[in-house]
Symmetry: D4
Subunit: 220 residues, 8 copies
């Protein structure tokens, strides 16, 4: 396994995210790990995970869920993920810390035939960092969604961001991913994705104000 920086990033990075070239990987968002997150408010983290998976749901984006021994203290996968992604395969790993080392997980990714992976994981410095580095080393284009991931404290978050960026991972956030894949408000799922954004950011209130006024104008 190699974590070296890919030698030919230009090709790999020459396209933006589309519903047809990307796969979502949700790694170890288990309740026993979620309680340990302290770089983001837990309710904001919950909101962001919901937003990211709701985006995938709207787009029928191929998705892979994995957990690390859910019968143990790590606990079950956050229910909201399973609700939003009912058809995604769930790989319960028996011991591999780096999900990329789980043949089942890797095959699930490969099976989609896609080379761009939108990844989030708990804890950031382990469950996101390791597969992100591994995938980049094998030529994948990895979008590490830092705000749908979480870890012990701000220092750990910063170290993970710096190390991922150094290795060629694209460090990003869920709203940015949604906008990149949405591409155009007039795209088939444009308005629906806008609704997901509004439902999970303060933009929803801007939309409420607008629609309330529009409704009144229409009544006149």
């Amino acid at each position: 396994m190699s974590w070296a920086k890919s030698e030919t990033p230009a090709d790999k990075f020459s396209e933006t995210l589309t519903p047809d070239n990307a796969v979502l990987a949700m790694i170890d968002h288990q309740t026993g790990l979620l309680v340990g997150v302290r770089d983001l408010d837990p309710m904001l983290l919950k909101n962001n995970i919901r937003g990211l998976t709701a985006m995938a749901k709207v787009l029928d984006l191929p998705s892979v869920i994995t957990s690390s021994y859910p019968d143990g203290p790590n606990g079950p996968i956050m229910p909201d993920i399973l609700e939003n992604l009912p058809d995604a395969p769930v790989i319960n790993r028996q011991g591999e810390i780096n999900a990329w080392k789980s043949p089942a997980f890797k095959q699930a990714i490969e099976k989609t035939g896609r080379k761009k992976i939108i990844m989030a994981g708990l804890v950031t410095d382990v469950c996101l960092l390791f597969p992100a580095l591994s995938a980049v080393a094998e030529g994948y284009d990895v979008y590490a969604v830092i705000d749908a991931s979480g870890t012990w404290n701000d220092t750990v978050q910063q170290a993970a961001i710096v190390r991922m960026s150094q290795a060629g991972v694209k460090v990003t956030t869920w709203g940015s991913v949604l906008a990149e894949i949405m591409d155009d408000w007039r795209s088939p799922k444009g308005m629906e994705l806008g609704g997901v954004l509004g439902g999970h950011t303060s933009y929803g209130w801007v939309y409420n104000s607008f629609m309330s006024q529009a409704a009144k104008a229409n009544k006149q």
Copy 2:
């Protein structure tokens, strides 16, 4: 109208909150004001407002909703509040900034016959501060729910906290109010209120882990 510190706080404060002695007042949680809040993350604020009103719903707690000219830029009331409190009177004030100066609002409070007011408002330094001071001055026992309220920045929040506390208002938070009124896990609504707490804090994840393990134990 008097904002003076009440002279005989001992009597007023001699009981804790119960479902029978308290009324909830939700003041000016309008979408045009919500976007201006910067002392709390907006998604955390939304979560807290949902939690506070869900508590009132579980308890059938008398509640009063008011807004300041919702046809103007302040915009409509946050929909989540109306969903959780469908039977609460909604007082759309025509100009009074201090809701307490609105006869309709004050009568709605008085009609409940209760002397303890759980209050939240946007923005904290105006829509919560003024009625909180006014109500305390008239002998009410006011619980100002600082984390279901919000304002321009941290400095403004701090000034509002200090001024309310100085005047005898009880500055508190939504989780603390829920626990005080719940009183005992064995109370009629105890488990349901616990569910509200879990649904709006990281405690829910602790509960998920526990129940998952309990389910497995039962299967054995």
Copy 3:
């Protein structure tokens, strides 16, 4: 001179601010002191001072400006204040640090016949704190506008807030003062004061959005 806590706050505090019972005191907002402020971003401080004095201008509120030896390193008074309050007397003190000890300043306040003083000063822990304590000790009702004042760092700000509150000063912010004195959107100056608020907070953008949509509705 006494800084003791007033014995009978109830009477003094029994009214809210009105255009008829309040005077504004702007103390030592000089350019050589402004550069030293580090508890607020300087551009936010400038904005807040403009907002507070614009409010006074709209209301023709009696105002007193004072400076501490403006020919020395403290420098001239911030020009925005003089522009907004062209008719206010300017007391250039020759040495008194506590403006309240300057007979000219105190007489300027007394001449207004008003017992409620809206005070802001640089630096907070000196130029606002001392006259605030002195005025409260003499029976005035003092509103210390903490965010139109400023000082060396957050620790100093906090100590000043705590000490003023302990002594009976009302610690507040410029937006809260504006709303208290405005009282009702239908008051004679209501819309104008709302414009001041919008011009100096993010509320102005909410208003822009609203008016833009209203203009379109009217065209239809």
Copy 4:
């Protein structure tokens, strides 16, 4: 039950803490609640709880431990507390949120005959706040140890501090309590208590440096 501010604080507060007039109450430091704390780093919180209970162990200070339904999701009491206080009664409450409302808990306190309670609890805004208010209202002198307690976020911590202080509770920290009860380095347990302080703060490193040098001097 009354939460009013005690009318005669002077008598109650006229002594400092001694090993003979104080009792320690450790309330609901259960593992399912500890994971929710976000106003202090969890490892610092663990350290502080260890320090506080180690102090009680050195002094044989009467102590009462209580938990809220430890068979449920709240989980077991933090083991370190039971190790440091092996002889303390453990009151497992069946439902009362405010420990003061548990007759067994209150009797355990009363049985010590002491009127000064050193209290810590999780979460601060519930498990510490409520019994602190209740005990003060009944004439006890309560030391609320804010840094051996913990809660959801900084805003909640601040609200709890302000409300407790308003009601006459002494808001304090574990190191301050240790020093107050130690009183004099020459007291019987002085050096041992100093060791507890050093073992749980950076002071221990100062002590290491000192002793290392002293050892060398002695060898010469």
Copy 5:
């Protein structure tokens, strides 16, 4: 469209900004988006946007303004921008999220014949990030003005900075851009640009103090 890191940055970056080689692009500074910014105080953001566009005005710098469906909830462009840049083309995009994908926008940039783009946009992680990456990939030298842009919170800002820097975008601030393009205080517009800097930073107060003293010296 390619977001790959440019292969030959040396040529592209071999000159500093001048009034003759740069174009300003102001992207989606619309009132419905501005209210969502939480990585900068909104009044500081407004100040910075004013400063940046005032700089362009002084220099008659070619500028392009674009908005994303201003008839919808995003709302109208911040009026200050239109005031400072009355002659700049305004491209109202009908759906493209990445402005670079709008032929009209791209042509407006190309029409200037300039290869250095000073870019600011709301929200940073979308409206600035995407066109910055796209332009760099096509060989432009992009100055991303992070403090005249804004986004949901600090984590999002940091991720956007790291990702832009990784891709070869120059992350910068409005004051730095002004100084780079000004180059020399004796340049034709040197003093005027200094005035823009002073009018939008605390440097203005330093200037006030200096000029006040100079005026007195001249009178002598």
Copy 6:
């Protein structure tokens, strides 16, 4: 010993600080404790202690220095204090944690015949808090200089501030104390005290700019 809130604050507080009614107490500023301070940057703390004692030196203010077993790990008194206050008695306590319980210390204070004590101490929650509470309880007017003191972290600082303020101590900062005792720039030591302020705050740079320009004007 009583820590109760003084019953008649009005008399005690009816005067401001003067060179004739105040005494300075510097408590336990020892190098082994200084290294533990984490609520203020250590270089800022050093600067503030220098400023406070330089003020006392200029005024020949009666001062008392005390240390807690300086032959042990607490180490020697910070040399800057001894340099600025060469004539102050130094009470090396043999064990009393609360300096007020040291007869030698208390007598040194009493010997000055002054009832206003300007106090600073390390660590804040022990060496400042305890004597401040004790002195207030015995009728002294205590100015607790929070920024010439220091402690383990921000939470501890806040708890100490709240508890001191609750008990009637005046929580303040060194610059505020200097200005209060200076009273007027024309007082005998006015200019010298201004120099102390300038030498220990950014005001010194304002002064440098002013004097440089004045020197040039004089040359003309």
Copy 7:
């Protein structure tokens, strides 16, 4: 000595950490330096250092300890390190600041025959930064453990992180290193390493809750 970025990182970085390819270097964790750390809470730092060295102990990982003139003010090595690594050579350097320049230290590393160095040091910007840069320049793969190191303040930490990352050092944290080297929960030391993680993070509380429930299930 060269600090240049290695030319062929791909080879060097092509493996992950294993118990067989890594060596731990603990540099200058001396008590006189530990007290100076202000970018991490000292108790959290102590906890992290304990965790990192406990990991090495569990794995019998070759380790090298070094100190800089421990007979001087830097003081002795933190005792916890010596306890966890009783067999590691301790190199007491006589003057070299950069440990890599000490032949004894470098030989101790070389003797292990390993090319991956897990490094931590106090202060970060000197004792970690210099040997990290030197080792990378000589072809080693360096993991700089930023949270088992520490320095004067956050700005210094950030500069050190940026400079190390620029030079090809992997900036990381102790928990991430433990997980990378553990690799799989089923590895020979998997459970034991999990215990180290739990004993030094809030994960331990999750484990306590789980085991408590499991114990009850087993009893049934």
Copy 8:
């Protein structure tokens, strides 16, 4: 002038700093700019600048001082710099913002024949950033001392750090530079440089404790 990343950093960076290969450049530390710094406490900044220049003084390190029109509002150079570096040439630029564009400044650097420049400047994003980029582009090895520089706020500091690091500048801090150039405590100036470090960090207090104890041991 080119700001491109140097093509052959390996050669340039292959040595560490020595008293024989480095030159210090102090750029625009003028009192009118110093007052504008808000990313560091001003007293900490003053301390750091003193420390950095004291280091140069001890080493007789070639140094160049420059200012930007000191007769104008920027004001005179901070006096401490001139005191520590009395023999350094002072280049008063007449207008060039980027000091590197001043022939006199550049010649003063070139005259030293040294290729490593230790640079600090106010404001960071202009007076340090521009010459750092220019010098790196011409093959110099630049150490940008971020904590002896300063700017408007944290966001501006971060942008400057990221941009300098991207371009190959070494972002560092004054203590790290001192340690790198000192190299060994046994070097000719080793103890003297250690004294500079101790005099400007909390390490000085560690030294005080040590020497106090050593003095006692010697007396025995």
